[in-house]
């Protein structure tokens, strides 16, 4: 992979940006997510989290880390659709 390889297409995060985050001391996947913004865009990480976890594992020599905490909804949903739903019982 080249330094400009795109790891997160939604938020335009490249390989060298992930490496820069690691060098800045962000060594866990939740921190790298926040520092680079990977996984916070349209797909919410479905396309990029595996690639980023692999890069992290390789660079740190540690076992691949847990996926980032998934953020609902699974797919983007319009506010108008959500507003028309009833309240669910769950907390």
């Amino acid at each position: 992979m080249t330094a400009k390889a795109m790891l997160c297409r939604c938020e335009d995060v490249t390989l060298d940006e992930v490496m820069e985050a690691l060098e800045a001391g962000h060594q866990d996947i939740e921190s790298v997510k926040r520092y680079t913004g990977f996984g916070t865009g349209w797909c919410q990480g479905k396309q990029c989290v595996v690639a980023c976890a692999r890069v992290l594992a390789k660079a740190t020599g540690k076992a691949p880390q847990l996926p980032i905490t998934p953020r609902p909804p699974l797919h983007p949903v319009a506010l108008g659709v959500l507003a028309s739903l009833g309240d669910s019982e769950e907390g």
């Binding site: 939740e30 926040r34 108008g80 507003a83 669910s88 907390g91």
Partner: protein
């Protein structure tokens, strides 16, 4: 050996550590049970406002906003600070009167806040549905920041001044002698696969860090930490949820807040509409899980306030914990026992915006040992004395 151990690497702890180092205090250690931005400092809406109902909060927040304005220059990091103002909506005559009283007080404190009628509300936010809104107050100097770089800015600046920050390090106990803390027991952690359960797993053996002073800035976790010292805090964690939509081109100037239903929303510099709403009841204890009920409640409130947003999609939702006190005021300053413990917690969801100014005041307090009139008023023992504080501008 640390001169000061700060517990909690959220914005309050890091701002305190940075200001301690800036004052020349050496050997400051900041520990956090997980990663930077893992607690409320990484989960809030980034609002920074001086529209409060008490003179204390108004004056402190004026100073905090001034620090925000200089933050990028001082910390060499872009925090995406944008002063679009805060527009507070009142739907009842009683709330409108309260806003008017607050505006008068804010004006006396030098803020340009003003009451605005429906026509002016629509000038500020043309898409706002103003039916049922009796009045609103607007302070153009209020604003929003992007919370994450704000946290990193303090962290990096603190480290440049010699502060040690140790994430993934949990406090499991204290060593005390003659009414003083002599050491903090620290254990490495790693995230649990059950992330949302708020559990961390031990990742090594505990060691003792000897220290002179301890500051607890652990937000909603503060009562748990203080309990290890036998200090009982009346704070309660309270889950607040928030969500972000797909990015839109810039169109929304202010953060709009409605104290009736706790709805608030603003547009981040990324273009997302970021906001939340009060949901009642919430689960007991520390809980950072998301609920569908929040999404439907928020969507109804937001589409009601700005109908044109109905077609805009929600990208993600998350949750964090407010750190609530019985009277709505924070708990700040030294306690009677142990004598070298300082508290900075109970900020009612305002800790993030208060941290820039509180970091300065706390560093001075810890460094000099002197207690200001403010810290006396905000001390833990006010609950025992029955000398409570008042603030009614709390969103959600």
């Amino acid at each position: 050996m640390a001169r000061v151990v700060v517990i909690g690497a959220g914005i309050m702890g890091l701002a305190t550590a940075y200001n301690l180092a800036k004052r020349g205090v050496r050997d400051v250690l900041v520990v956090d049970r997980t990663y930077l931005c893992g607690g409320a400092s990484g989960r809030n809406g980034g609002g920074v406002r001086a529209q409060f109902s008490s003179e204390t909060n108004i004056r402190l927040m004026r100073e905090s906003i001034a620090i925000c304005r200089d933050f990028a220059t001082e910390m060499k990091i872009n925090v995406w600070f944008r002063q679009g103002g805060y527009l507070f909506l009142a739907r009842s005559a009683e709330r409108a009167r309260a806003l008017e009283e607050n505006v008068a007080l804010q004006n006396r404190c030098g803020l340009p806040t003003r009451m605005v009628d429906a026509a002016e509300m629509r000038k500020i936010v043309p898409e706002l549905a103003t039916e049922g809104v009796r009045a609103a107050s607007f302070n153009p100097g209020d604003g929003v920041v992007f919370p994450w770089p704000f946290v990193w800015g303090y962290a990096r600046a603190a480290e440049d001044l010699g502060v040690t920050i140790r994430p993934f390090t949990e406090v499991v106990g204290f060593e005390t002698s003659n009414g003083r803390i002599t050491g903090v027991r620290l254990r490495p952690t790693r995230l649990s696969p059950l992330d949302a359960s708020d559990e961390v797993l031990p990742a090594g053996d505990a060691t003792t860090e000897a220290c002179d002073e301890v500051v607890i800035c652990a937000g909603a976790w503060s009562p748990k930490v203080a309990a290890l010292l036998g200090v009982a805090l009346p704070n309660k964690p309270h889950r607040h949820e928030i969500c972000a939509t797909e990015p839109l081109k810039p169109w929304l100037g202010p953060l709009v807040a409605d104290l009736t239903d706790g709805l608030y929303f603003s547009q981040s510099m990324r273009g997302e509409i970021v906001g939340g709403v009060a949901v009642d009841p919430v689960p007991e204890g520390i809980n950072q899980q998301s609920s569908r009920r929040f999404l439907t409640t928020y969507s109804r409130a937001l589409v009601g306030a700005v109908p044109v947003l109905a077609g805009v999609r929600v990208l993600r939702q998350w949750a964090g914990c407010y750190d609530l006190t019985p009277d709505g005021g924070p708990i700040v300053g030294r306690v009677a026992d142990p004598t070298n413990l300082t508290l900075a917690c109970g900020f009612m969801g305002h800790g993030f915006m208060m941290a820039p100014v509180m970091g300065r005041l706390l560093a001075e307090h810890v460094d000099t040992g002197e207690t200001s009139e403010l810290f006396a008023r905000w001390s833990l023992d006010r609950f025992a004395r029955g000398d409570l504080v008042h603030e009614n501008m709390i969103i959600g």
